[in-house]
Symmetry: C2
Subunit: 455 residues, 2 copies
């Protein structure tokens, strides 16, 4: 084992192909279904909403490796390869014999891993002659990433930002505007879907599902405009595999290999990014690595949701997706980890979860910030509230090692920094942060919306 602090890779080591786990899954994901006909979806059914290339990638169950376009690699080089870092001082503060590594995706221009897919999606849009992209954003990480990526490829970008985050995180809005995008708080009066939500509840603070409905509606009703999603879908998870592919090489430089891989879980793209390249060795070579998704106790789709067909958005504009869900009408508590406030889990991940290749834990909001502050004070990076969940799950495992005396190797993905989430840290440090745990009654109420679709 090496004892460096950071393992760097030159831009020449940026992966030239994304890893498509669909090609090697023992049980392929169930088909996407057309909501009206319940027929199996073909890529061309997605063309009205998404770029053609992304639509094809979405349903590609045969090609294990999908080449990354040269121009995307060139744009990746602004920040990739990202460092793999050994968290020596964090280990020491925990008093654990575990070796903790993190992949630092916070160094990207937009401050998170989200840019890995945004650049790919903006590139394919440009190639197809698209002039406008729409999207939704929760905490603003994805919106910031797509705003920047769209600008780089000369495309206009319109972002629906979940109202709770819009108000909590004004700097995120400013970042998107600095990158040249147009931002609208969701629900808004600019779409039919938004008007319906506001009519139903004038104080609706928004959700990712609702913002997705608005963005899709705008794409469907605007010329030469497509919709772009920042998580959940297979092509997004695919693009994120550059994270794990790099980490694999970097763990080899460290002469180590992860016993446990951890990432926070919203829709699954960050988790897939770090996990899937390592999971292929579990599938193909029987490696014993554990994969742990850390989700908020307020939004526990993997730990307490059910595997069902459900809509990806609140208003039911998407195909029916086979996934772990809390029900598409789910209204998440206004936790600061806006990027985790989503009712469903990605299709590929849901199948892998069902098949026992991974596990999940839920984390309370205060616990996540406690872990984040310790990490900031020891490793110097203030983590995004989402990433704090991964860090808290890492603390769990590191403390188990302390009890048992085992020196396990833990790798987690630091999906983003928290420089524009400081009001959340203020509240935590002042002891004013609330915990939210979804009650059984609420869960049953929301789940009914998914159950109705599966009768």
């Amino acid at each position: 084992m090496k004892n460096q602090k950071k393992y760097l890779l030159d831009e020449n080591e940026i992966p030239r192909a994304w890893f498509n786990i669909q090609a090697i899954m023992p049980n392929k994901p169930l088909p996407f279904l057309h909501p009206a006909t319940r027929q199996e979806l073909k890529p061309e059914d997605l063309f009205p909403i998404f770029c053609e290339e992304c639509s094809k990638q979405e349903l590609n169950q045969t090609d294990e490796w999908i080449p990354i376009p040269e121009e995307v690699v060139r744009q990746y080089a602004a920040y990739r390869c990202t460092p793999l870092v050994r968290a020596y001082d964090f280990e020491k503060a925990l008093g654990t014999p575990a070796r903790i590594y993190f992949k630092n995706e916070s160094v990207s221009p937009a401050g998170s891993h989200k840019l890995n897919s945004a650049l790919a999606q903006a590139y394919y849009a440009k190639e197809q002659g698209i002039t406008n992209l729409t999207t939704e954003t929760g905490a603003g990480q994805w919106g910031g990433a797509l705003s920047y990526a769209a600008k780089k490829f000369g495309i206009e970008c319109a972002v629906y930002m979940v109202k709770a985050s819009y108000n909590q995180k004004p700097y995120r809005r400013s970042i998107m505007q600095t990158f040249g995008a147009t931002i609208t708080p969701s629900p808004s009066m600019s779409t039919r879907a938004g008007k319906d939500m506001i009519t139903a509840d004038p104080n609706d603070q928004g959700s990712l599902g609702g913002a997705i409905s608005e963005a899709i509606e705008l794409a469907l009703t605007t010329d030469n405009c497509k919709y772009s999603l920042g998580s959940v879908l297979n092509h997004v998870c695919l693009h994120q595999t550059v994270i794990g592919l790099e980490a694999e090489k970097q763990m080899a430089l460290a002469e180590d290999y992860p016993d446990i891989v951890i990432a926070c879980f919203g829709g699954g793209s960050n988790f897939c990014g770090i996990a899937l390249p390592f999971m292929r060795h579990k599938i193909q070579k029987g490696e014993k690595t554990r994969f742990i998704a850390a989700e908020p106790a307020s939004c526990p789709k993997l730990t307490r949701g059910e595997f069902k067909y459900d809509f990806g958005d609140e208003s039911g504009l998407t195909p029916l997706l086979p996934m772990y869900t809390l029900g598409h009408t789910f209204k998440p508590a206004t936790i600061h980890a806006g990027g985790l406030r989503y009712h469903g889990a990605g299709v590929v991940l849901s199948q892998l979860m069902k098949d026992g290749y991974m596990e999940a834990v839920d984390i309370e909001q205060n616990e996540s910030f406690k872990a984040g502050v310790l990490f900031a004070r020891t490793e110097g990076i203030i983590p995004a509230p989402e990433s704090c969940h991964a860090i808290a799950a890492t603390v769990h495992e590191a403390l188990k090692c302390k009890e048992t005396g085992e020196s396990k190797t833990i790798l987690f993905n630091l999906s983003g920094h928290g420089f524009v989430d400081m009001s959340a840290y203020d509240q935590y440090l002042a002891g004013e942060l609330q915990d939210f745990r979804l009650s059984d009654e609420e869960l049953a109420k929301f789940m009914a919306s998914a159950n109705a679709l599966n009768e």
Copy 2:
């Protein structure tokens, strides 16, 4: 010439010694003077305020290389070596034949170059058995850096933050608190100096000079407590030379050498950091490199100030320093580049300026943000308002190359990111940002305070 995007160096390449230009200056800096006796200062005269090791480094005119303690190198490894980046897309947007490189210091835990000295100062304090450090901060970059460094070495940290910045940049305060420091807006009622300022002007929005007075007073009146400064002084500039020493190796990797080196200028530490290692080749080998300091038009100490003995702080608690100054009673306009709102230039830099080794330009606030937004949209990093001044000066030179057709090599220091300065970008994008140019009348009024000391 190589055509990579980034030039990385492994942590094993972190410099093991700082470069002390005082040892090779053709004209040594004039002595520091005791304000009461006007006698030349010895290191021990600084011991009541500063750590002993820093005091010795301050007046060391003989050792060209000063070893970096092993523990400081270990802490540097969390973020150093920082990347050297070729700004291809920024060049393209400017249509310039110039090759533009930047050293990216924004990747440090505290978000700026400031940590390079903070870690060194906190280490020396710890070694001396000091338990408390005080300091001032303008934009909050230095305060954030010292808060983190102090925490790493188990020292308590109290920060006086210029009131204008405290109100403009609440996230900076939060960052310092997350790192565990105590923050007080300056002027405050907690010191004699602060009370005097508030009595003179209840609406005093503070200045770096005033906050320094408060922090020094607290250090002088508290047991086992020293003061720590983030710029201006020679030992701070010394610690920053790791920037240029790394950049020198990285320019060699790029098979290139700078014709022009540019940095923004507050007290001089960021400028010294990138410039001095290259300037030694100008002094020792006659290299023709130009060195350009970019200062705000509202605070033009190098372009319109005078070389005088003056105090480093507003209340006259520091020794008399031989430097370019606007007068220690200078009240800067409330520009967003809080780190540049200082009346004086570092002693070493002032002598080098006087001797013709460097030049300076002034930049208006709107011009700085215009350059910063273009940089953000092309290179993906939202620069700190201070760094925007360096970028604007780079634009000047790049556009001159466009006119003449020369492919000059320009290197600038990206001293920090602007993620917590987004309200400034909001104002710029809304067209609401004011320009401030210091008038001749104001200049004469402030300068009188320095003139009085030189009679």
